[in-house]
Symmetry: C2
Subunit: 245 residues, 2 copies
DNA sequence: GAGTGGTCTAGACCACTCG
DNA sequence: GAGTGGTCTAGACCACTCG
């Protein structure tokens, strides 16, 4: 019954089947709630083994395009949340991709015990030792982003001896702790006097603030707050159904 | 050589292998650039078939945790961009999840030809007919978000007869065009007089603006701009290596 | 040439879940 | 009980890419 696999020619069978099924869903031909043919029937229609069809359907289920239920079959999902992929780059990379000269200045770096504020922001255990830093990223000689950062010395003890005067803490940390789990929050604020001074913008000027909390298997690694003048930064996120390709 | 698969007990072989390999990478035991054992060796170590290992490695490659090269093997990737998943919900859902009463008011709805501004924002073909609307979402009786929207009548002709006085255009559109590709941008701005009036906030107060452009196989579907008072909205995005689970 | 990943098959057994 | 998806296997052939 499934004919007309007239999607763009794909390298492999399962890619061809994936784009074919995707097209039927995205085009509305198979609306939310529609039951897809069973695996065995799809396998027969496409003249492939059940494994190949299963691979495709498993991928589509992972991407949230369909929902699968034993005995009942596979159904086109109700699109609930738009789930978009946000790519958060290194600030130096970001500045250079704007074709601007990148510069960096360390403003403060100090070891201390976590304050009540730190604990609340960071989700730290009480009384943890942290390395706090504040630094300024410049693009084309103009303040681009103020970075406030805490590093958990319990998880990254080697940070105690790190020197961020040349290397930004984010770059240094990526080398020490390459992979981790993170949560980002993005909000707008009016610049308080200290922030306005640091970024050379008027008091109460709007700023975009991106905060990142990062965990490890061993606990909280770092908390970073990036404050951008409103005209300097836009966060972009893209979404394509079923990811990939 | 791969022993000590002491990760949390997982339902299936490939899940167990996935979390084991993930752990080695995330913990730093296998740093970026490290070559993973070859598929045949992993299969032998874990006492599974090569297909099972291949499934795991394919998934990890898709998630960006490793890079695979024929003849050379699989390598732990250099973490380049933090890639986070952003879930963008319906505004009504969002308001209700804050335990606030949701209300909605249509302010304007008009059919017209796309202006130069529209064309630039939307990526429209020249002279397309659009349905423009402006509406206000309220939470607990207080302005929560101003929505400015354009719908491309060439792609969604049935919008010409739609009535957004009861149903917000986003909700209506999701029913008509359930799946599509989208691009989001998030920025901070100072409220201009019209926005300040609509949201009942002071002039120049900071606002978070989320813009969404949506495409279909047939072309641009809709352009939406959501403007939130800075204190009303935070965008949250989460990231876990290798997606899933 | 040789070794890797990329893909696919035909078959199997099971868990789940419906009626 | 029966039919679905979930998973796994052992084997196969190929494309790619290194030396």
């Amino acid at each position: 019954m499934i004919r007309n696999a007239k999607r763009a020619p794909a390298a492999s069978l399962h890619q061809r089947i994936l784009s074919d099924l995707e097209h039927r869903i995205v085009s509305g031909q198979w609306p939310p709630g529609h039951r897809l043919p069973f695996e065995v029937d799809l396998a027969e229609s496409y003249k492939v083994s059940r494994m190949t069809v299963n691979k495709v359907l498993t991928q589509m289920a992972g991407a949230g395009l369909i929902e699968r239920r034993r005995k009942l079959g596979s159904f086109v999902a109700q699109p609930q949340a738009q789930s978009a992929i946000l790519e958060i780059h290194d600030i130096e990379t970001e500045v250079r991709s704007l074709n601007l000269a990148y510069d960096y200045r360390l403003l403060e770096q100090a070891k201390r015990m976590a304050s009540a504020d730190d604990i609340a922001n960071f989700g730290l255990a009480r009384k943890a030792g942290v390395l706090a830093s504040r630094s300024l990223h410049l693009a084309g000689g103009v303040p681009f982003c103020l970075e406030d950062r805490l590093i958990n010395l319990a998880v990254v003890p080697q940070a105690a001896d790190a020197d961020f005067s040349q290397t930004p803490p984010g770059t240094w940390l990526t080398r020490q702790v390459p992979w981790s789990t993170a949560e980002h929050t993005i909000r707008a604020i009016a610049a308080d006097p200290a922030l306005a001074r640091a970024l050379s913008i008027p008091k109460h000027a709007p700023c975009l603030v991106v905060q990142r909390r990062t965990w490890n298997g061993e606990g909280p690694v770092t908390f970073a707050r990036f404050s951008y003048p409103a005209d300097k930064h836009v966060v972009v996120a893209r979404f394509t159904p079923a990811s990939s390709t």
